[in-house]
């Protein structure tokens, strides 16, 4: 009986802000019954040594991501737009502060 329900806790992704001024960064995942428990588990599991000042937990099945197969459609077009980079423009060395 317990076999069926035993592993029904959903998976959560954990993001930790290491210190003020930095983004939250993905650090791993964990299992929890709900969001408050996920937050407590994340504190115990990922911040035992002052690794963070803030934690986000997100249900893994709520994350939508691009896949490896989407690589070309998503990222290839930016490759041929060199004019988006400052080094594309030649300015004489004699011009200051630019």
């Amino acid at each position: 009986m317990s076999d069926e329900i035993r592993h029904e806790w959903p998976l959560f992704e954990v993001f930790v802000r290491a210190k003020r001024g930095l983004n939250h960064v993905h650090v791993g995942s964990l299992r929890a019954a709900d969001h408050p428990m996920a937050l407590h588990h994340a504190r115990d599991l990922y911040t035992r040594r002052n690794e963070g000042v803030s934690i986000w937990v997100v249900r893994s099945d709520d994350v939508v991501s691009s896949g490896p197969d989407d690589k070309d459609a998503f990222f290839a077009p930016s490759g041929d737009k060199a004019y988006r980079h400052p080094t594309y423009y030649s300015i004489p060395d004699s011009v200051p502060h630019i």
């Binding site: 317990s2 035993r6 592993h7 029904e8 791993g28 995942s29 964990l30 019954a33 035992r48």
Partner: protein, 309 residues
């Protein structure tokens, strides 16, 4: 490019394979097996030292040991998390461990007879683990490599607390010094076995090296551990229980005696002094905790329903 070509190129360029990438079935299976075995070792590894938490001689040692055992739990969970990125299920892995279908490190099948064992486990067992694990921080599978980086940072505390504990005992009474020597005698050879079978008897090694799952051979890592440990033993004032142990100027390494591979095989296949007890304990913890997991899940489901209404 096909998924296979991307995979080959990723490995060749020494880049990391990530969860949603195409990978050969063999790579996925090997990674799951290795990560699960590693996770199980961390979880089972809580038991030998956990047994001493209530009997630690001072509040300071108790707090240290508690933190260390908590770390082992954390390491197990980082690793189960990495295994789940490959499609493994955490609960299923635990069942496989309890049913004896997946293994864990043979080292945890030896008993911790005295408090000196806590120190020697930190010094030698965690020392050997660090030797094994540092190269795994560059393993080709991204989530595993990242978990190993966290683990290695924390293992350093484990080894140092053990060595400091032993130094304290060596400054104590003659009886305490004897305890340290006795624990060293019992743990030295099992620690050398932690690196696995010799290279010519390690069937999966070549493929794992080609896939960059593994970076050094078992024998290379074992030699590195012996070379590190000898001066540490001297500084501590204990004798390592191997009459064949001596510096070889030609090789610029320590030579050491023959490992008892018969014992290794016996312990790994369930015949060690503590195998049955370790698994029974893990099974009991899983069964005793079942109602808590079920109640928490039921509570969460009920609250979700109330929230939706």
């Amino acid at each position: 490019m096909t998924g296979e070509q991307v995979f080959e190129e990723t490995i060749a360029k020494d880049q990391r394979v990530e969860p949603r990438d195409w990978m050969p079935d063999g790579y996925r299976k090997t990674m799951i097996r290795q990560i699960a075995q590693h996770a199980h070792s961390e979880i089972i590894g809580m038991q030998p030292e956990g047994a001493w938490i209530t009997r630690a001689p001072t509040l300071r040692r108790k707090a240290i040991l508690l933190a260390k055992v908590q770390d082992e739990a954390g390491h197990g969970l980082y690793l189960y998390s990495a295994a789940e990125t490959l499609g493994a299920d955490r609960g299923d892995l635990t069942r496989r461990l309890i049913d004896g279908r997946q293994k864990y490190s043979s080292i945890f099948n030896y008993p911790t007879l005295t408090f000196a064992d806590v120190g020697v486990i930190g010094w030698l067992v965690d020392g050997a683990a660090i030797c094994n694990q540092v190269p795994l921080c560059r393993s080709s599978y991204g989530p595993y490599a990242r978990a190993m980086i966290r683990i290695c940072k924390e293992e350093s505390f484990h080894q140092r607390q053990g060595y400091e504990l032993l130094m304290t005992m060596m400054r104590g009474t003659a009886a305490q010094r004897e305890m340290v020597q006795d624990a060293t005698d019992r743990w030295w050879w099992p620690s050398l076995m932690m690196f696995g079978p010799p290279d010519d008897e390690s069937p999966n090694s070549a493929q794992s090296m080609a896939w960059k799952i593994k970076r050094h051979s078992n024998d290379d890592l074992r030699q590195r551990f012996v070379d590190m440990s000898v001066p540490q033993a001297e500084a501590l004032g204990v004798t390592l229980p191997d009459p064949a142990l001596r510096w070889n100027a030609d090789r610029e390494h320590y030579d050491f005696g023959e490992i008892d591979w018969v014992e290794f095989k016996r312990v790994i296949s369930g015949g060690g002094p503590m195998n049955a007890e370790r698994i029974a304990h893990r099974r009991r913890a899983d069964e005793d905790g079942a109602w808590v997991r079920e109640a928490a899940a039921a509570h969460a489901a009920k609250r979700a329903k109330v929230g939706a209404a």
